[in-house]
């Protein structure tokens, strides 16, 4: 029972960060119908940003999100305006190539600038924990989960209650209709990419005290985010949130009960099963 609870707990806590990455990807997809294959590399940029804030400016990684988010928001917005915007009406394969290319450029530029060395952020709480009965709870994971919850709550409020948020959702639901209703869809695309990039970076900053940072660290996160988004339903923010937690918990439980070498297998089998029964994903509406 201890093993079950321990694995479930750490799985859910780590799933929080996955969810944040997935939400960023799903917003970008929702508004522009582009799958951002550079998403993991944006996570990587967030990690580096929080690393340098920590080592050079002594800013705690969890506090650094206040700086990291606007920084990467800006970066994402510029990326959209200068590059991604040009392929909005292009063939899907061209869009895929473009975002893969952006990802490669990002990771290789970082390698040129900062070498391929692994960088580690060691905070006083990096390997800290406290006990809850038989279970030990990781302090950094719990903190990051709390912050993830807060960020997600703010995001929901923004998307549901503000005019801009509603305009983003309108664009995601039907780009042409939104445009006819007077929504500036071009601006929404820029905002959505900025938002997606910012969220990816926040996730990166939150993971950084317990993980390690190197230029290629992003690629596995791209794949994971993609799975989360498809699982939850393409474009669904709620779906990505739930999907992230499901993937985190499944990985962890599979690691405990089957084998940690096979946990990816279990995740993908579950993924396929869900798609078999709900082809549009958990919260997706099939669009034809």
């Amino acid at each position: 029972m201890t093993i079950f609870l321990q694995s479930l707990l750490s799985g859910i806590l780590i799933g929080g960060a996955y969810a944040l990455i997935g939400v960023g990807l799903t917003i970008i997809f929702g508004v522009m119908r582009i799958i951002n294959f550079a998403h993991g590399d944006l996570v990587m940029l967030g990690m580096y940003a929080s690393y340098f804030l920590f080592t050079l400016g002594n800013v705690d990684p969890f506090v650094s999100i206040v700086f990291v988010f606007p920084l990467l928001f800006l970066f994402g917005a510029i990326l959209q305006k200068t590059v991604i915007n040009r392929v909005l009406n292009a063939l899907p394969q061209n869009q895929i190539l473009l975002t893969i290319g952006i990802g490669l450029i990002l990771s290789n530029t970082m390698m040129l600038l900062f070498t391929s060395d692994y960088r580690i952020i060691s905070t006083s709480y990096s390997s800290g924990s406290f006990r809850l009965g038989e279970i030990s709870v990781s302090t950094p994971l719990l903190l990051s989960f709390g912050i993830t919850g807060l960020v997600t709550a703010i995001l929901y409020w923004f998307l549901l209650k503000t005019d801009t948020g509603q305009a983003i959702r309108a664009t995601a639901q039907d780009r042409d209709a939104a445009q006819l209703m007077g929504v500036n869809v071009k601006r929404m695309s820029v905002l959505a990419t900025g938002l997606g990039a910012g969220l990816a970076a926040v996730a990166g900053a939150l993971i950084s005290p317990t993980y390690y940072i190197f230029p290629q660290v992003g690629q596995p996160f791209t794949l994971k985010a993609f799975v989360i988004v498809v699982l939850g339903g393409m474009g669904s923010v709620m779906g990505a949130t739930v999907g992230g937690i499901i993937i985190g918990a499944t990985e962890s439980l599979a690691g405990a009960y089957i084998s940690s070498g096979l946990k990816d297998l279990v995740v993908y089998v579950l993924f396929l099963l869900i798609l078999l029964f709900k082809p549009a994903g958990l919260f997706g509406k099939s669009r034809v």
Binding site: T2, I3, Q6, S7, S10, G11, I14, A17, N108, M111, T115, S116, D117, Y118, I120, S122, S126, S127, G128, S129, S136, S138, I207, T210, Y211, Y212, F214, Q216, P220, G248, E251, S252, L253, G255, A256, S259, S260, G261, K263, D264
Partner: protein, 383 residues
Amino acid sequence: MTRLPLVVLAALLLAPSTAFAQVKIGVINSMTGPQAPIGENLTNGIKLAEEDLKAKGISVQLVWEDDTGKPQVGLSAMDKLATRDRVAGVVGAYTSAVTNAVAKKAEEYKVPLVNPVASKEEITRQGYKYVFRVSATTGDYASILLDMATTLGKPKTIAILSENTDFGVSGAKSAKAYAEKKGIKVVFEEAYSPGSPDYRSTLVKVKGSNPDIMFMVSYVADAITLMRQSRELQLTPMAFLGAGAGFSTAQFASEKNISNSVFSSTQWTPDVSWKGSKAFGDRYQKRFGKEPTYHAANAYTAMMIMGEVASKAAGDREKVAAGLRAGNWDGLFGPVKFEDFDGYQNQNKHQMLVEQVQDGKYATVWPPALQSGKPIWPFPGWK
């Protein structure tokens, strides 16, 4: 471009003595990709060897190939080196998975391959005639640690945790066999997939099995993640034993609160009493601004040997292979000789070392004859 080979050819013909002719040597290494941080040590070691060869009057032309950590890329690099660049021999690769693939190709092309660090046992157990290994094997990684453990204490149970790569699985297999031989019961065994941010579920199971010693085979960064999460879960065996790689990097050592007292088997340390080790360590530090890992010394040694032999053989592949088989060397890596024994072919019998993190620095603690510090046993607990 087409004229260049002609110029080289002319230069070769005009060269007065074949002993000083420039020979082409291929290098296959993980220069980019996830294995690049350790690959860099090999690159730097080879660069230092190139300088030292030049100082000896041996001029080698190195053809660098990046395998990006992938066997299939390594294979095409080998094709290119053997057929297009027509190298006299190849030094490489880094990981066991790539080297194992490349070794097969080298044997087909009859290109002598000196393998600096890849330690999967099978690489030199397949009857190959052109594959030479400077490196010790995964079996040696496990046996030196368990020899030390059984001398210092009386461990009865062991947990073996390894990554599911060629290096990890091979290391775990040898550790299991050797532990059973020594009468230590294997109470936990698992191969994990590397790069995950969360190993807690696996470590909880390790904790449940309550092992006396814990043996881990991991590349760079996972070592830090595993130790951090072991601390989180308050895992306290008699000793944490790491099989080189991720457990023997300066970065791992500098993470004091998780790395102190962790043992790691290694092939070389700057403070071991082999001739020139310290000078090499200092020179590397000065030149590249960081401490070398054993990979640098292995790669340096492999390139020095290949350079000398290839130049003496004037680039003839058969003669290079014969020279490698016949020679023996001694330097900062201890004595090197390629021999056939215990099912191995052209394998160097290398004396392994055990180092321990003591106050954020590595001390060579085993074997007693080569030690620079006393081992701390058992694990004193988390601070």
